[in-house]
């Protein structure tokens, strides 16, 4: 795809940094191209394309980190970035908690990260997918107002370190995300759907618009509700955000530095026995899969919460060194920590059965049920939710909120469905939580 050997560029840049005084160093470089078609007012508004290259270098001197990033391929810019990273590392405060960068750790490739079909697609293909969505959605709902994007990206790159790691990677992504707005007089129904994958064959991109329309219709007729404590059922999209937030909070750096609600909870029960959360970066064709993390550490399957107990933290090389343990393969090249594919353990009964048992509650289809990272307190809007009465979704709700603390919600989680929405790499079940404070406007 490119006339540049990025692995050689990374290896050369590492060598140059070491000559300038880097004690430890890693360099990532690569190129990517993307195409995006924007839909607005149920038509195509614009088609965009971009192509770019970048290089990022991380240097450690006495544990202090200097980092420099540069776009393009100008050799003078790259040389300056290397010099700058070394100079910054020398000015940084020494950090005895930094121990080492990862050593080479060969691992088999994860299958299905690059699709030749996606790599071979051009703007006409993306336009065709967008047009198919428009036509299908209009056939279903002639006055629908659709907006969104259809696009793809193709990238390749490399990572080299002063410890001898030399990796080349490549990947593809393709997807569609479409909002649908339907009106009946002054009543508004609005929702979205999406489909993303690394392989074209894993997606049903032409169906996203109709799915969004069908969902948007369900949100017509929203009403206010009364405040009270009731059952909260998280649909697949809502549970993915909520449970993903819990795994994200198991970030070892946040915990080591004392700023997480999970501080001092390692090894303890933090939720109900129905809750088992696995982070798995090795799922073939997974959107967040790869043989290695951004530092070159082998990825793995990691159980973070086992039947309610916090059993693992997400580590990069820095936090692992500080804790005298092994990195779990969740490092990013810039020094952060990032979760991969979320795989909650599924329960024994289907979502419909779990819902049918609810006498009064809220079904959260989608919403940012985020906890304060330090306190774990939650004060969130019910962005897209329904009132449940006697096991049925009665009507969508407006101007309502959820309040509580993350530990209360995790403790009161009493069911995970046996069925789940699947996106490449991720499982999204339905989850039920008892006795949650809901604030309504009625």
């Amino acid at each position: 795809m490119s006339d540049i050997n990025y692995l050689e560029l990374c290896v050369d840049s590492v060598a140059r940094a070491v000559r300038l005084g880097a004690e430890w160093c890693d360099v990532s470089a690569g190129t990517g191209r993307d195409i995006s078609v924007t839909i607005e007012k149920t038509g195509i508004k614009t088609a965009d394309a971009g192509q770019g290259e970048d290089l990022a270098i991380r240097v450690f001197v006495r544990g202090g980190m200097g980092y420099a990033a540069v776009s393009g391929r100008d050799p003078a810019d790259i040389a300056e970035a290397v010099e700058r990273a070394v100079a910054l590392a020398k000015e940084a405060t020494p950090d005895p908690d930094f121990k080492r960068l990862p050593a080479p750790d060969p691992a088999p490739q994860v299958e299905g990260l690059f699709d030749d079909r996606v790599a071979g697609m051009g703007v006409a293909d993306v336009v065709r997918i967008a047009a198919a969505n428009l036509e299908a959605a209009k056939a279903l709902e002639p006055d629908v107002n659709l907006s969104g994007n259809v696009g793809l990206s193709v990238g390749e790159g490399a990572l080299a370190t002063s410890t001898g790691i030399a990796l080349a990677v490549r990947g593809t992504d393709v997807g569609a995300s479409i909002d649908a707005l339907v009106k009946r007089g002054s009543d508004v129904g609005f929702f979205y759907d999406f489909d993303f994958g690394r392989f074209l064959a894993d997606c049903r991109l032409e169906d996203v618009g109709t799915s969004a329309v069908l969902s948007a219709r369900r949100f017509l007729g929203a009403k206010r509700i009364k405040s009270g404590r009731m059952t909260l059922v998280l649909g697949p999209l809502a549970s993915y955000g909520f449970l993903g937030g819990v795994v994200g909070a198991a970030n070892a750096e946040s915990i080591q530095r004392g700023r997480s609600y999970l501080c001092d909870r390692f090894g303890e029960v933090i939720g109900s026995p129905h809750l088992t959360l696995v982070d798995d970066g090795l799922i073939p064709r997974g959107l967040h899969s790869g043989a290695h993390d951004g530092e070159g550490t082998r990825r793995r399957r990691l159980t973070v919460i086992d039947r309610g107990r916090l059993v693992s933290l997400l580590h990069n090389s820095y936090t692992a060194g500080k804790a005298c343990t092994e990195s779990t393969g969740h490092g990013t090249h810039s020094g952060g920590i990032s979760a991969t594919n979320l795989r909650p353990a599924l329960g024994e009964r289907p979502a419909a059965e779990i819902l049918r048992e609810v006498r009064e509650g809220i079904y959260l289809e989608s919403g940012e049920l985020r906890a304060d990272p330090a306190s774990g307190d939650i004060s969130a809007s019910i962005d897209f939710g329904f009132l449940i009465r006697d096991g049925q979704l009665v009507h969508p709700v407006e101007s309502a909120m959820i309040g509580g603390n993350i530990f209360d919600l995790l403790a009161h989680l009493d069911a995970v469905s046996s069925d789940a929405r699947e996106e490449p790499g991720a499982l999204m079940p339905t989850v039920r939580i008892q006795d949650v404070q809901i604030a309504g406007a009625e």
Binding site: G43, I44, K45, M65, A68, A89, E91, V127, G258
Partner: protein, 467 residues
């Protein structure tokens, strides 16, 4: 960069574009992160490239490259033209562009302290001073601290086929701090952030007492705060919450691209009374030194003060060149692009409610039982249905007109039009100190927001305890 931008515009026109604009950009940035007594992460970045936007027939095409080489720019022109041509058949709302007089100008707003003029060691020393000052307030109760600084300079050229050629140079700098306090049972955070059009002078202007010491005190105070109640309450907004309200609840709905696309609840409401006559709300990119200010937007239209609501009545939207043409009005200088690789879209700048006449004490006296929200953190909105949320880092109960117990972690959610209608008091004070990056369609834009204290008669509060 001027020659390249002009050349590519001419090329696009010769090859069939009815309109084209080209933005060439070079930017550099640096950042320092201080954590737990160490400046252990120092970073720098350099970025340059060109973006070409063309209007062909009924559709836009846009292409970018991370290079200022003529060859790459020419490829962008060809790609943008091909992209626009490929989409013609499926356009439902033909693209158009407002005809405006060409602008030839240069605007250089360089920082008082040029990039690199303040040694890194001096910056680190100042950040460590902030951190030490904050930690000294709380002693062992402060369990984590982060102080960060970043600055960036950008040099940009815009040219279009109407003859506009603008060169701008500017800089922005941000300093933020976060302190986490714990009493052994719970943890709470206190944050402060400052942002300016400028450079390292922000470190000389920002004093520890009103920055890191204030943030540490917030975290400590929150340890004694209780969870907020849940339900409907009268609320008094601190200016930072008023700022979130006008930005999230109203401002995004007043962006004319959303209105034209039928995605905003303000569609068809121009001229309507949406709020009491005491309420006036503006977006103004000419506020001196404010984080969201600029001389020209990314389409070459001069920035200006744009009325959105005046005396309660909806009087205007924020326009780009395209939405101005579609609404048959003039552009307002609201077409902004994050970088060379982004299309300009309609954005806010500094958005605020104008000062009123009611002192805070009088505002509070009118509340039998309610909540005073302060320390605005974040918010978001669904413009399609007019539902927004604003999160406050701190709050106080209001009991019989007096401030009562401190509350923690509280958000409000409501419908925009309902909330505007229920504003029943506008304060006689004013503050705009919410510099931040606003996200829309994958792009970030520097903005600020604020206003006076304001009171709303009835809003849903998402707390823990039923009322």
């Amino acid at each position: 960069m001027e020659d390249l931008a002009r050349y590519l515009c001419d090329l696009a026109k010769r090859r069939g574009a009815a309109f084209a604009d080209v933005r060439a950009l070079h930017r550099r940035a640096e950042s320092i992160l201080v954590q737990d007594g160490r400046a252990d992460k120092l970073a720098a970045s350099t970025d340059r490239g060109v973006g070409v936007r063309v209007l062909v027939g009924r559709c836009w095409g846009f292409a970018s490259a991370d290079s200022l080489e003529r060859r790459r720019g020419e490829q962008c022109v060809d790609d943008a033209l091909a992209l626009a041509r490929a989409s013609q058949e499926f356009v439902s709302d033909p693209a158009m562009i407002a005809e405006t007089a060409p602008v030839v100008a240069e605007d250089r707003r360089l920082p008082e302290i040029a990039t690199g003029a303040m040694p890194v060691k001096e910056k680190i020393a100042r950040l460590l001073e902030y951190e030490h000052s904050g930690r000294s307030v709380g002693g062992d109760a402060v369990v984590n601290s982060i102080v960060s600084y970043s600055d960036g300079v950008r040099d940009e050229v815009l040219a279009n086929t109407a003859g506009t050629l603008i060169r701008t140079a500017g800089a922005r700098a941000v300093v933020t701090c976060l302190f986490v306090a714990s009493d052994g049972t719970i943890r709470q955070r206190g944050m402060e952030h400052r942002g300016i059009l400028g450079g390292a002078e922000i470190l000389r202007r920002t004093e520890p007492d009103e920055f890191s010491v204030a943030a540490a005190r917030k975290a400590l105070a929150l340890l004694k705060a209780r969870p907020a109640p849940a339900g409907r309450f009268a609320v008094v907004f601190h200016p930072s919450i008023t700022g979130l309200l006008v930005h999230e609840a109203l401002g995004h709905n007043a962006e004319a691209d959303a209105v034209w696309a039928g995605q905003s609840i303000l569609e068809g409401r121009l001229g309507d009374e949406l709020a009491p006559p005491t309420v006036s709300i503006y977006d103004d990119s000419t506020v001196a030194g404010a984080f969201g200010s600029y001389a020209y937007d990314s389409e070459g239209t001069p920035g200006r003060r744009r009325p959105i609501i005046e005396k309660g009545r909806l009087v205007g939207f924020l326009h780009s060149l395209e939405t101005a043409a579609k609404f048959k009005t003039g552009p307002t200088g609201s077409g902004r692009a994050e970088s060379y690789d982004c299309r300009p879209i309609v954005r806010m700048s500094n958005t605020f409610m104008e000062r009123g006449t009611v002192p805070l004490a009088e505002m509070l006296r009118g509340v039998e039982r309610g909540i005073y929200l302060l320390d605005g953190h974040w918010g978001y909105v669904f413009v399609q249905k007019g539902q927004f949320i604003c999160h406050a880092g701190q709050a106080r109960m209001i009991e019989r007109g007096r401030l009562g117990d401190p509350l923690r972690d509280v958000s409000i959610s409501s419908m925009t039009l309902d909330t505007l209608r229920k504003i029943d008091a506008v304060g006689d004070d004013f503050e705009m100190k919410m510099p931040g990056m606003c996200g829309k369609e994958g792009q970030s834009a520097p903005t600020d927001c604020g206003g006076p204290h304001a009171r709303v008669g009835d809003v849903v509060v998402g707390g823990h305890a039923e009322e």
